[in-house]
Amino acid sequence: MRAAVRQAVSVSVATGLYGISFGALSVAAGLDLAQTMALSLLMFSGGSQFAFIGVVGAGGTAGAAVATAGLLGVRNGLYGPLVAPRLGVHGARRLLAAQLTIDESTAVGTAHRPGPAARAGFWWTGVGVFLLWNLLTLAGALLGDALGDPRRYGLDAAAAAAFLALVWPRFGGRHAVLARAVGAAAVLVALATTPFVPAGVPVLLAAAVAILVGFLAPSGDEPASPPTSPSTPPAPAPDGPHEGAAP
């Protein structure tokens, strides 16, 4: 159980740190401080939050922003069945557990045998990331607000780099070949359609390609194992239960 708590703390710090980039990029994308904090407090899912501000910053519609954030949040839905049996909570605690169900808490919570260590891993990571992520979002937003024109500081390039860092670990591991092919196709679709459709829509068209491939490609040798956990938890490879850190 102490190992689980130690893991939880290191994952929380690694993940919380990049709340700074989220806060700064969010105000650079045109959201105000309150909207930025609402995203970190209420949406609380790094990939979805970055995607949301990406679409808003590009001048996309509210519908496109919501759809993109929602699609990126789909994997959180797949984590529930993995962690719920280990937590065994009901009522208000279940509502809270759902909000704290993200890549990191799932990764640490499922890294340990079901029991006290798994529960401690989930709760300590979930609460730890939540606190640090929100605190550092606030710091980043205040900092970003004070900076002025975001382009001068390269914040637009930082947004592209953030997405690259989020997707990078997913090009390895399970489904690596398929993931790379889908990633390449997504880039092509997004760039080819950008001049012709409203902002935000190219990203959704790219997602449609992935849905088609996911359901139509033969499944063959795919192991159906749940996300396994960080064997070396402090490594902050963002976004992915098997890799490590990012809400």
Partner: protein
């Protein structure tokens, strides 16, 4: 997007993302355990993030432009290949673009 529209999107988006998390806690385990469902969810994430990289790097509204963001993205890729932490990757990319713009690149 107007401030009101942004707020609506923030609230609705947060509700959707939370709803998905909650559904995961309420459905029986085997419903979502199908390999095809899990794989599709993973691929959707890859496609969305890849498309966002592309759009953030070269789109300006509905135009495609090559500016300081591209070399910055290349620097980020090198940093990732060298296993740099997330924050370092993001800061290096920003510094590259800022530096190139200070030198006159658009």
């Amino acid at each position: 997007m107007s401030p009101t529209a942004t707020w609506v999107a923030v609230i609705v988006g947060a509700a959707v993302v939370y709803g998905i998390k909650l559904v995961g806690h309420l459905v029986p385990e085997h419903w979502l355990a199908q390999p095809r469902v899990a794989r599709t969810a993973a691929l959707v994430t890859v496609a969305l993030l890849s498309a966002l990289v592309a759009v953030q790097a070269v789109a300006q509204g509905q135009e495609l432009v090559a500016d300081a963001r591209l070399p910055a993205l290349a620097v980020a890729a090198v940093a990732l290949a060298l296993r740099a932490p997330f924050v370092v990757v993001v800061v290096l990319a920003a510094a590259t673009a800022a530096g190139l713009r200070a030198l006159g690149m658009p």
